[in-house]
Amino acid sequence: MRMQISSGLFGLVLSLACVAGDISKTAAPLTDLELGRRIYREGILSNGQTLTAKGAGDVALSGKQLTCASCHRRSGFGTSEGSRRVPAITGKILAAPLTQTYREIRGGRKSGEGARPAYTESALIRAITQGFDVNGREMDPLMPHFMLNDTDLKLLLNYLNTLETENAPGITESDIHYATIFTPSTTASQKKIVLDTIKTFFDGYNAETRGEDRRAKHGPWSKAWQYGSFRHLQIHSWELTGPAEQWPEQLQKYYAQQPVYAVVNGVGLDNWQPVHDFCETREIPCLFPTTDVPGKSTKPYYSVYFSEGIALDARVAATFLQNNTKTASRILQIYRAEPRSEQAAQAFSTAVKPSKGTHLDELKLAQDQALTHELLQQHLASSQANTLVLWLAETDLPAVDKVIADTATIKTIVVARSFIAADTKFPTSMQPRTYVISPYVPDIDMVKHLIRYQSWAKMHHLETSEVRIGANAYFASMMSANAVRGLRANLAREHMLDQFEHMLERGLFFSVYPNFTLGPEQRYASKGCYVIGPMSAQDKKEGRYPKKWIVPDKF
């Protein structure tokens, strides 16, 4: 039964993905289920027109501005904003009478609490179109009054009935299965750090839930709801091999062998796209992988990232330089034929291009080509650059030093922390003019910032040499465990993602990133980078780096 539903949904998603954008071009007409879902999620009626409603008394609303899914969420389990609760409206919940306890647990609301009888079809239609609940109470003006004809109402109610299915794949009575994924470029020691970290965290969580199991078994009925989700967490390691074209098949195979509820962390520094596509099409939450090149798709929903990766570094660099066009008017960017470096260069030139008054030249090195001072000299002469942007590693810096040591024409040099090792000491010629783009907390503050992770890792004798890899795995494990704990009995994957949107707001979780927030449909938690400038004499005396947090606009 369960498999039938999920494979059905899977087929639908694929067919929807093909028609996304222009409905009129589709050959096959949408099924009733697809039409209902389109009303619910996108606010488009069966005749292709936009859903309309009245809110707060006299305010005209359209499906372009909000849909049922905006408030009741894709999962149908509702949400809360401040003291206002949006109730769960899955068919199963609406069709059953609510007791106080049940309502509290299943997203009951503050106003108008109490028992209600089961909704009938006509009561539902009255709720949706006129704003009276099944008890005849006039509902919170937050719930709009929708203009829907009989056909569309039928499609919509039919869709609500499909919202709450049985447990998602990867969940059994006793366990929740997670996978962590490694692409071939991941080193053996990185894999070990990630696996050890997740296993250790999950073991701790599992040991702690023993008491909850007992309570669930022997407690009153309402406690079964509350403690129902304290299942044990299991982690599976999926290692990808060969070229990226072969990964989708490997992912399918792993998933067929052991379905998982979600993907936790994992490492794929230079390419995450195939995993991203897998998670989006199969509707599997893919939580906080460590990557510099996250996957892209229109409106990703299931993939949640620490940041936009190297492209964000590049946009921050562009923003920083464009605020200083007086000194940075002629830029030479140097990069290598290597995925991360290429992505940075591409994002940088897109971000810089539209601005007037900035000239951009490029030097692309072959994958195994070293930067020599002759080559650099030659390009500097032809480009007349006053600014260098380097998507290169610390091993390329001696050539830069040799060229700029006795020239003052280069006023500004921008390098990225993502390419340069933490303990790099810049040549003296570079020091007074070099700015480091860092998506992370500056290295000198990192130990203090990650004290909780460090002491936890130490206590469990875990390797902490690669702080980003380890701290990210720790963070992702903690988030994944807490999200399912918060869900109690109700484990729809979409509802888990809703939890994430609420969880990050306060600084209770620490990672290598300094500022972290998520919100509805936000999928990149860190939104800016530090630009760490050269130290003045005073800075040196006080042992601090001048730094500025920059959040770039879209270009």
């Binding site: 008394g57 903690m478 927030t517 770039p552």
Partner: protein, 204 residues
Amino acid sequence: MLHAHFTVRKFLNLTGLFALLSFALPCLAEHEHHHHEIAKDTGYTVAAAEYVLPEIELVSSHSTTQKLATVMGDEPVMLNFIFTTCNAICPIMAATFMEVQKKAAKQGIKVKLVSVSIDPEQDTPSALADFARKYHAGANWEFYTGDKTNIIDLQKAFNTYRGNKMNHIPITFMRRNAKARWIRVEGFASATDLLNEFNKVTAK
């Protein structure tokens, strides 16, 4: 082991606490007082208040930087706090301003509308510009973002800061000019309600 246990526990207790706090927080601070209240379950409340505006700068949806005092100006103004990815409350608040804009134009009422994002890192100028287009904002409706700490100071000044943007509540502020007191309308007032309150403010 013990340590892991402790940290997870602590997190849970804190989330519980936040949930409690969001319910328990008094809606109005002491320096605000009701001058009338609509008792209806679905209604809103109105209170007059003095707010001391912080000396900060905001960044508009056109990427220009302006002093807060200039943004609020010396003319009749209505203010709300939104964020562009907010699901439930903000679309209604934005649509209400859209309706106010339309009705005010029809009735020849002069009002400047200001919406400030409480999620400044996500809501870059161009994100706000997209949002403004979605709600057909005209020249008299301006959108602002800014530095994270400035935006927190601003919310504190208006007693709307709830620590977490997801605990955001629907409130509209209005005043006649720079010397006048602010009127705080809390709850989902319709566009007609807001304009009625606004007419009272400007008639004084």
